[in-house]
């Protein structure tokens, strides 16, 4: 067993680590935290920034600790005078070409560069000089690029090109003029970007950020003529607490509702209910298509980044997508129709705000299809991060809040709705309802654990009413591409496919609290957040969407039955092929 262990010395400490460990990891095991910037575990391990350099006895230059593997008997110094000076020079150089308007930056307080400047107590920049100038791209409804703050770490490029296999951005030019850009420096809006926002999550500084709609939300909240309604996606409640110093994966549903009420929303609803509604419609659609063997496999459509990806890359396969709108769009449409009618509110006076873990939903809510009779389903989408800012701006001591509950009559959601926020959740929720429908009874076994977990692609075959249904669940667009290619080539024999654009699903969406590279390499953020959702499911009294009394009531009072004409009017949509590049 010892054969696989390598003994080395780091800062005079004897360390024994597995063969193949990087110096950076080995140091971590000895409680030595070597600073990094461009390093993002498993995603960007390229050694560009040079912050992680260390001195190794017997070697001429410095070693790149984030890449280089340990060797037997290696003697490493992580803070020798030479390393310290070089590291300071490098940090200084990075700062010398960085717009240092930290106080007015979105990432103030959560910036890896700022943290390093603090760590090294940088008092002034020694090597001032020319700075590269970039125009800000804020054309898209979702993402703002300010590359004056870019430090060329390329984490965003790796997230976009390697993880998602989109490649909307890449490094262009060379030398000092190098920068991250799209083809021809066009707006993200006009290229192959899907607005998944994984680049934002990867960015250590404020070079990439969401387009903020807080001001609009505040304006509506303060307008007495506007009836403000908010809904929160399942994944938001298990991440929002992080922005207030709570452990990753804390379920803060009660405090969140309480905070939203304090912000002044007239009604606080749960997108989980929208998710239940989606299941009602989608499971029904699936059952119909399955019975008629019509355009199978059917593919879920609740991830707008995925939908944009499909429209741009697989225009020939759009018929496979479920016609269901995503949960918050469905829910918005219901608020402005069913709810408005029931409580006699003018739908035009309702401002529907969705709090989402997602960047692409900002784009989705602005899609022209997303309205009924001239009434927009959802007016604004803000992210988990933006909500935390609003709470802070409203002087609310979030951690001290008493728990509150969602408003009636659309507040009570099932456990099936909750798990929508993680990869595999939509499939599991849909199977719960589809199985009961096809079998015609309340099945006692309804947990589909094969589709749970963080793997990018999970398959299961279930037998329902004597028929086999083969399902596949993928998250991350690179995995989506593989499955779509298989479908295109006729190699896939699935009946049901769940696709989410973000690796890990909505809990890891582009609108979620941004975790530093250090946290991401130490903790499985996805698992902690997803586990919290499964706990909510487990603790729910009702765990199948079709058993929800809210659903029963909505269908009885308004929607008639799943797939009805009125359901189609409000809850379904269509897709149109889009040019991959509109330049």
């Amino acid at each position: 067993m010892d054969e696989n262990l390598v003994a080395l010395t780091i800062d005079d400490k004897e360390v024994k680590v597995k063969q193949g460990t990087t110096i950076l990891q080995a140091a971590k095991q000895a409680n030595i935290d070597i600073p990094t910037l461009c390093f993002l575990k498993d995603i960007n391990e390229v050694g560009d920034c040079r912050m992680c350099i260390v001195e190794v006895d017997g070697r001429k230059g410095f070693a790149t600790s984030c890449i280089q593997k340990v060797e037997e008997g290696m003697v490493v110094h992580t803070h020798s005078p030479a390393v310290m000076e070089a590291r300071r020079v490098i940090l200084d150089l990075i700062l010398s070409n960085h717009h240092r308007d930290c106080l007015t930056c979105t990432r103030n307080g959560n910036c890896e560069l700022q943290a390093l400047a603090m760590k090294f107590n940088v008092q002034h920049v020694e090597f001032e000089g020319e700075m590269t100038e970039h125009k800000i791209d804020d054309k898209s409804p979702a993402i703002v690029r300010d590359f004056n703050k870019c430090i060329l770490c390329r984490r965003c490029v790796a997230a976009c090109k390697n993880v998602q296999q989109i490649g909307a951005i890449d490094c262009i030019n060379r030398g000092f003029e190098s920068c991250i850009s799209t083809v021809g420096d066009n707006s993200l809006n006009d290229v192959n970007c899907t607005f998944c926002g994984q680049c934002i999550e990867a960015c250590p500084t404020g070079a990439l950020k969401e387009k903020e709609y807080i001001k609009d939300v505040w304006r509506n909240l303060k307008d007495p003529d506007v009836y403000t309604v908010v809904q929160t996606a399942p994944a938001v409640r298990v991440a929002l607490g992080e922005e207030f110093g709570m452990p990753i994966g804390t379920n803060v549903t009660g405090k969140m509702v309480s905070a939203l009420k304090s912000l002044g929303f007239d009604r606080v609803f749960d997108t989980n209910t929208g998710a239940d509604l989606t299941i009602m419609e989608e499971a029904n659609e699936f059952v119909e298509r399955f019975k008629n063997q019509d355009c199978l496999p059917m593919i879920t459509s609740c991830s707008p980044g995925w939908v944009r990806f499909a429209e741009k890359n697989y225009p020939d396969l759009l018929g496979h997508l479920s016609s269901c709108k995503s949960p918050h769009q469905m829910f918005g449409a219901m608020v402005k129709s069913y709810y408005a009618k029931k409580y006699n509110i003018d739908p035009k006076k309702i401002c529907m705000v969705s709090v989402m873990p997602c960047i692409a939903k900002k784009y989705e809510c602005q899609r022209e299809e997303m309205e009924v009779d001239g009434v927009r389903d959802v007016d604004y989408v803000i992210t988990t991060r933006e909500l935390s800012r609003m709470i802070k701006q409203a002087n609310i001591e979030f951690t001290q809040l008493e728990d509150d509950v969602f408003d009636e009559p659309m507040g009570e959601a099932t456990g099936a709705g909750a798990i929508f926020g993680t990869t595999g959740g939509v499939m599991e929720a849909a199977l719960r309802t589809a199985a009961d429908t096809l079998e015609g009874k309340d099945l006692p076994q309804f947990e589909y654990t094969a589709v749970r977990g963080g793997k990018g692609r999970k398959e299961t075959t279930v037998e329902i009413a004597g028929k086999k249904i083969k399902a596949v669940v993928v998250s991350g667009l690179s995995n989506a591409r593989k499955v779509m290619d298989e479908i295109r080539e006729g190699k896939a024999d699935y009946q049901f496919v769940e696709i989410m654009a973000c690796p890990g699903g909505c809990v890891m969406g582009g609108g979620q609290p941004i975790k530093s590279s250090k946290i991401r390499s130490e903790v499985d953020v996805r698992k902690l957040r997803a586990d919290a959702l499964y706990t909510i499911d487990e603790k729910s009294v009702i765990r199948k969407s079709h058993e929800s009394p809210v659903m029963k009531q909505m269908y009885a009072e308004f929607l008639q039955k799943p797939g009805s004409e009125i359901a189609h009017k409000y809850l379904h949509t269509h897709y149109t092929p889009k040019k991959l590049y509109d330049i």
Binding site: V46, G47, D48, C49, R50, I53, G61, F62, T64, I67, Q68, A82, E85, A86, V89, I90, L93, I94, S96, N97, E126, F127, G129, E130, L152, C171, N173, R174, G175, F176, E177, S178
Partner: protein, 619 residues
């Protein structure tokens, strides 16, 4: 496809035919007119010379005379060069109009065209190439065939022992024996860093992998270095043959030559050579009927100096931006597409066949203790004989500059020699007697580099020179790592300030601090060596830096912002030459009266300084 037998026949027959190329006493009635078709001579119209010769010969119906295109003879400054064999008469600076005279006088009447002969630096007339001082101290191994054979005729290559080494290796030696031979020869990488070639081959052989590759680095990027190009243009088969030998040794069946697209002639010659070698079965499946198969593909670079760095080169072959990878792992273990890959440069390969044929002992007997064999230099700058020189390792700088190079023109003083291009340093007068080998050069703050050797006279400002190199590095930095991307830019900004007279002593401190830290922390060779020109000039010419900073003075008068061009009225005779040559009409004056320069109009180009016959104008 040719059998081994047929190759032997070609060799024997062609060797007889071509004896006149290397033997002035050759028993023949033929004459060969050799015309250099290297890039230098080609750009001064040598193709027209060839065409003219052929036209005149045909027109006159002359028999037994052939016009042959060859690679570079080396003495580019005297180009276009024409040599008549077997007598080996050497004509310099020939124009297409001179062809008739050469044919009518030399070929038809056997008289030498004296006006086209070359004068040596000491003004003696020279009849033959090897009578020139330029050639006396040279030893041609890598350049052996350059200027002797027609590079586009495989038979001519075969005639001079071409593909004999490959035959020997494939039929008589094990891979280990070949590697051993290369190791024993002491050959080290000619691309710059000087890593022992045999060891590189051994590591690649030992590396585990089902597929291995042999790569030839022909991305010669040093501004002012052109030996690799000359080898490819003059003797392309020697590189192909060596790559095959390497492939056999390490267990690879595929080779890539990464060559600059800016070298169209070299690319063309390589293409022809590969086609001909394939035709003869000297490339491809089961070479010489053995189990060994090998093929070579050309990949064109597209104008990025950094691609000369081996890992950047691999990235580029794979079709990406030429951004270097962090080492280790080295290409020997993880190279092209992650497979074990052997990378050597052109000149290194050019030595291989000679080592195999003449033996490691022979090769190791040339050069110094740690640096064996010869090195080709591209001698340029302020030196009389500009061109390619190949000298045994250990030759001193003084011998190269003064004996071979013929010293400094225009009666100026030697100030410094720069080796290693943007990665190297400036060597001052006091180190002129340093023997040229890897260790000695790095001990004085420069490096061997790929072989650029630029001589500078005392009209050169060393601050300006280091700015020139930094400017090069900045524009060629790939931008991947912070120290190189931003650090070299900051260094350049400081040097700019110095040359503009706007720097203070703190700038000097910053410059040095940046230089030392970039050297240690950049990812690749380009970044790690980028500060060398600055560090070496700081070491030897620090006083010039101080003058720029403290007194805002540039003693060489090269830094325009600090320069002030004036006409000394005592010395000016009013001849008007400066006035006529001034490109911006900044000079006024009546004939035979002292002239004046209007400083507001003057662009300080220095033309007048150079043109004044009375040395009356000073910077």
């Amino acid at each position: 496809m040719k059998t081994l037998e047929e190759i032997h026949q070609i060799r024997e027959q062609k060797r007889k035919e071509l004896d006149l190329r290397v033997n002035t006493a050759a028993d023949t009635r033929e004459k060969h007119i050799l015309v250099c078709r290297g890039t230098g001579c080609t750009s001064s119209k040598s193709p027209d010379i060839i065409a003219n010769f052929r036209k005149i010969i045909e027109e006159k119906g002359i028999q037994n005379v052939r016009v042959i295109q060859t690679g570079c003879f080396g003495l580019c400054a005297k180009g276009p060069i024409v040599i008549i064999r077997p007598e080996d008469t050497f004509y310099a600076m020939v124009t297409p109009d001179d062809c008739r005279e050469i044919i009518e006088k030399h070929i038809e009447k056997g008289e030498i065209v004296e006006r086209l002969l070359c004068k040596d630096v000491d003004n003696t007339m020279v009849n033959r190439l090897d009578e020139l001082n330029f050639y006396k101290k040279q030893k041609r191994i890598a350049l052996k065939n350059c200027g002797i054979i027609d590079p586009e005729q495989i038979d001519e290559y075969i005639a001079f022992d071409g593909y004999k080494a490959l035959e020997q290796v494939l039929t008589q030696m094990t891979p280990d024996e070949v590697i051993n031979e290369v190791s024993e020869s002491g050959l080290r990488g000619r691309g710059g860093a000087g890593f022992p070639t045999g060891r590189k081959w051994l590591f690649t052989k030992q590396a585990e992998g089902d597929q291995k590759y042999v790569v030839c680095n022909a991305d010669e990027g040093d501004p002012g270095a052109f030996m690799d190009r000359s080898i490819l243009e003059g003797d392309p088969h020697s590189v192909l043959e060596a790559m095959e030998i390497a492939g056999y040794s390490i267990g690879a069946d595929k080779g890539y030559i990464y060559v600059r697209a800016e070298y169209p002639i070299a690319v063309q010659r390589l293409r022809v050579a590969i086609d001909q070698a394939r035709d003869y079965g000297l490339l491809g499946k089961n070479i010489f009927g053995t189990d060994f198969s090998f093929d070579i593909e050309i990949r064109l670079g597209a104008g990025a100096f950094v691609c000369g760095e081996e890992t950047a080169l691999l990235e580029s072959i794979e079709g990406r931006r030429g951004q270097p990878r962090v080492k280790p792992p080295y290409p020997a273990n993880s190279g092209l597409w992650g497979k074990p890959t052997l990378i050597n440069n052109v000149e290194t390969y050019a030595n291989i066949t000679r080592i195999i044929l003449n033996g490691a002992k022979w090769y190791a007997s040339i050069g110094t203790e740690k640096s064996k064999g010869t090195k080709v230099f591209a001698l340029g700058g302020n030196v009389n004989n500009i061109g390619l020189v190949e000298v045994p390792m250990g030759t001193t700088l003084r011998e190269i500059v003064f004996d071979i190079g013929g010293g400094i023109p225009n009666g100026r003083e030697f100030k410094a020699a720069q080796t290693g291009g943007p990665s190297g340093g400036c060597i001052p007068k006091e180190h002129l007697d340093t023997p040229i080998d890897y260790e000695s050069l790095s001990s004085i703050g420069s490096m061997m580099g790929s072989g650029g050797l630029i001589v500078m006279d005392d009209s050169k400002c060393m601050v300006n020179i280091s700015k020139f190199y930094l400017d090069f590095t900045v524009s060629e930095s790939c931008g991947k790592c912070t120290p190189c991307r931003i650090g070299t830019k900051r260094m350049l900004e400081i040097l700019d300030r110095m040359c503009e007279g706007k720097a203070d002593e703190d700038d000097l401190y910053k410059l040095e601090k940046l230089a030392l830290n970039i050297k240690k922390s950049a990812i690749c060779g380009l970044g790690q060596t980028a500060p060398n020109p600055v560090l070496s000039t700081l070491k030897y010419f620090r006083d010039e830096y101080m003058e720029h900073i403290k007194y805002k003075k540039c003693r060489a008068g090269q830094c325009k912002a600090l320069a002030n061009i004036e006409i000394d009225p005592e010395k000016c005779k009013g001849c008007g030459i400066c006035k006529r040559n001034c490109p911006v009409n900044a000079i006024t004056g009546e004939p035979r009266q002292p002239h004046k320069i209007d400083p507001d109009v003057c662009i300080k180009c220095g033309t007048c300084v150079d043109k004044c016959p009375f040395k009356a104008i000073k910077k």
